[in-house]
């Protein structure tokens, strides 16, 4: 607990809030720009359209944002050369866990605020139908889980390599694969960690090539996908932590 508090203390001037605000602003502007270009016919899908697009925007914006947050929190130890000092007081495992918990909390706050913001947008726009509070909650939880999986990967990289270029290039590749994975054959998407943003979407689109009608529908993410997601997270966590623990400081 003390370690976690210290993580927040270390990051107090590192403009984490600014990074999070930028993420929110980008998502808000993107979705806003998207909705202004829809006609009344599309707008009747309201909440579904919003959640569908949010998962697409997530797949592009979040991988690099998560990489940035992880890099901000890990870079300072490399810069300050604090490893020797820290690891004489606590074990590397404790340190790793504290940093992961910091990421989990920051991402949770970011995503909860994000969901609140978009709920407000939906209400302000006057979307039809009942307020899908439960689905928004589940959506927040799912995007948090995917983000944590990516965070575990990014933290591993940021801790392993002092040069943050490695982690950031991975983040860029993630943003890129995240969006492109929506064009992949379904079996392949599951092999791309960043593809889970799209895979976990609660709304799917059905486009009929004959009638050219687009239809959205709710669905629950399949259990196998959730298990696979947790598996990916476990792999990144274990590999990242082992590499960090064994690293000579």
């Amino acid at each position: 607990m003390n370690l976690l508090r210290l993580e927040f203390y270390k990051c107090r001037r590192r403009k984490i809030v600014l990074v999070c605000a930028a993420v929110l602003a980008v998502e808000l502007i993107w979705i806003g720009a998207f909705f202004t270009r829809q006609d009344a016919e599309d707008m009747k899908w309201g909440w579904m359209l919003l959640l569908y697009n949010l998962s697409t925007v997530d797949a592009i914006v979040l991988p690099l944002s998560v990489a940035t947050l992880a890099s901000r929190n890990c870079e300072l130890e490399h810069k300050g050369g604090t490893w020797k000092l820290l690891e004489t007081m606590v074990t590397p495992v404790q340190l790793y866990d504290a940093k992961l918990a910091w990421g989990a909390l920051v991402l949770a706050v970011l995503l909860i605020v994000r969901s609140g913001l978009f709920l407000a947008v939906g209400i302000a726009e006057g979307f039809s139908g009942p307020l899908p509070l439960a689905r928004f909650g589940l959506f927040t939880l799912l995007s948090w889980t995917v983000s944590m999986m990516v965070y575990a990967l990014q933290q591993g990289l940021s801790l392993r390599f002092a040069n943050q270029a490695a982690a950031l290039v991975c983040g860029i590749a993630g943003s890129f694969l995240g969006i492109l994975s929506m064009l992949f054959p379904p079996a392949l998407v599951r092999c791309v960690p960043w593809g889970y943003y799209g895979l976990m979407s609660l709304v799917f689109m059905d486009w009929n090539p004959v009638t050219r009608v687009t239809r959205f529908y709710w669905r629950w993410p399949p259990v196998t996908d959730v298990v696979l997601l947790l598996l990916w997270a476990a792999v990144f966590l274990i590999v990242g932590r082992t590499l960090f623990v064994r690293k000579e400081v």
Partner: protein
Amino acid sequence: MLLRCLKAELQKCRRSPVWLAFVVLPIFPAILGTGNYLGNLEALENGWYSLWSQHTLFSSMFFLPALLGVFCAWQWRLEHTDHNWNSFLTAPVPVRDLYGAKLILAAVVSLLSQGCIGVLFLLSGKLAGVTGPVPPELPEWMLCGALGGVSVCAVQLFFSLVIRAFAPPVAFGLVGGIAGLMFTAQGWGYAFPYSLLCLGMRANHPQMELDLLPFALSALAYTVVFTLLALGYLRNRDIAAE
């Protein structure tokens, strides 16, 4: 003096794997673009031109700005670390040459990445069995793309100079790329540096006529303005070495 600075910058790059990102990462869009092209042959009937649009669709908007951002951030990172600011600014060289060398190197990398994209484009076209002659405009697409890339580099170099951390300027590059997409969609592409990159490459619209004069003027203007800003910052700010 500029030449010597350039040599020094090149020496700093020795053995650094940063170039690897520019070679490896464009392979993804190439494979995916080709796959997408082959999957939608009935809708994309314009041979090489359709293939180019598929290749550049995402890369010019999300990918290249952030990647150029990584290179620019990496260039300044060398100075931000290990007390290098002291030796950098006390070198008996005008700051404009120090900065110029970095900008030229970034421009070269921008050109190289375009070359890499071009080679991958030709390769995947041959592999996918695209018939017809290779579009004669290809060198122009690449050159204009590189020129747009230079203005992005100038902007990114400035931000990486001011923000002394690696990640935020890179994230800024991605945001810029997304904003560029919106500016292009609104028709204000010529007025925004990140749009110049995808306009120059004719991403999405390979047969679009580019207004060369406003394009070149805008690219030049952004490059000059951000270079002056960076030089002003270097001259007037006290750079405390970390």
